[in-house]
Amino acid sequence: MAQELATDEQGRLLIDVRGPRFGAAITTVVLALALIIQGPVGVGLVVWQWFVFAVATFAGLRWSIYGNIFRWLKRRFDMGAPPATELEGPPRFAQLCGFAVTTIALILMLSGASAAGWITVGVVLVLSVLLAFTGVCVGCELYVLGQRLRSAKS
């Protein structure tokens, strides 16, 4: 799994920019299926996605499940050198956001608020669709607003 991966001069992991978008595409399919099927199978798919987010967030993108599928495909089909690389920080933060919202969704479902839980899954779906198809940086849109709210509180 964790073969020699590129790092910058400070030893921080560099990843292929196509990786997160590939991962978001799988996330989109998994969550779309979950929303359509629902029931125990649907919940199972959400739990799986929650686990995927957790691994990428806490173990790092080196261990990201979808990221490693991408690396394998890249070698298998010889997809060439990355068009660009990026530090793992921002996409790892995005995985953390996915993890946080999916956790809320699962808590809602387990506590009986099933409809609210599925709407929350829908939010994660929207974010992953945005990333997979457009590469729009949602964290960037909300950062200034978030910092303002934070400073207003303190």
């Binding site: 530090l87 921002p90 950062y143």
Partner: protein, 163 residues
């Protein structure tokens, strides 16, 4: 209708709507807005209030972000955040521009550390670039990743004015 078909339809419509909205949002990304050439601020114009002298960055803000333009012809201030991937791309763009222009300075500032400046200039998202003339006048601004050649064209105008 079978609920599963209904849900599939809803999910499909949501996905298509998000893709369309995202593409439209993206097409605006990185567009450069000239401060002088926008007497009628449009909807996309960050609703900048036109002032007689045009918008400018106060000297104390320039000091705070560490942009020293005394020896320069023009500069740029990049407002970003630690978790913003496009910000790194903008840093590369500004670095490339600096290589070709000895009189150009740029700095990066975290929006969280300069909220007053962000509020004053209605900076709502990162990365935002303010192109600043030597006297602190804001020549142009852009949100998202600007194109190197477009930014260079703006600077060409400013460098001519400074010369």
């Amino acid at each position: 209708m079978d609920p599963i078909v209904l849900r599939a339809l809803v999910v499909g419509v949501v996905v298509v709507a998000v893709v369309v909205a995202g593409k439209r949002w993206q097409s605006r990304d990185g567009k450069i807005t000239l401060a002088a050439s926008s007497p009628q601020p449009s909807r996309h114009d960050h609703r900048a209030v036109p002032r007689p002298s045009g918008p400018r960055i106060e000297a104390r803000h320039l000091d705070a972000v560490g942009l020293d333009l005394r020896e320069a012809d023009a500069g740029a201030l990049l407002i970003g955040s630690p978790t913003c991937a496009p910000c790194d791309t903008v840093k590369q763009v500004l670095g490339d521009i600096q290589q070709g222009r000895s009189g150009f300075r740029w700095v990066y500032a975290d929006a969280a550390d300069h909220l007053e400046l962000a509020a004053e200039h209605r900076i709502m998202r990162v990365p935002t670039v303010l192109v600043v003339a030597r006297d602190g006048r804001i020549v142009a601004r852009t949100s998202g990743v600007p194109r190197t050649d477009e930014l260079n064209a703006v600077l060409d105008g400013e460098f001519q004015a400074a010369a």
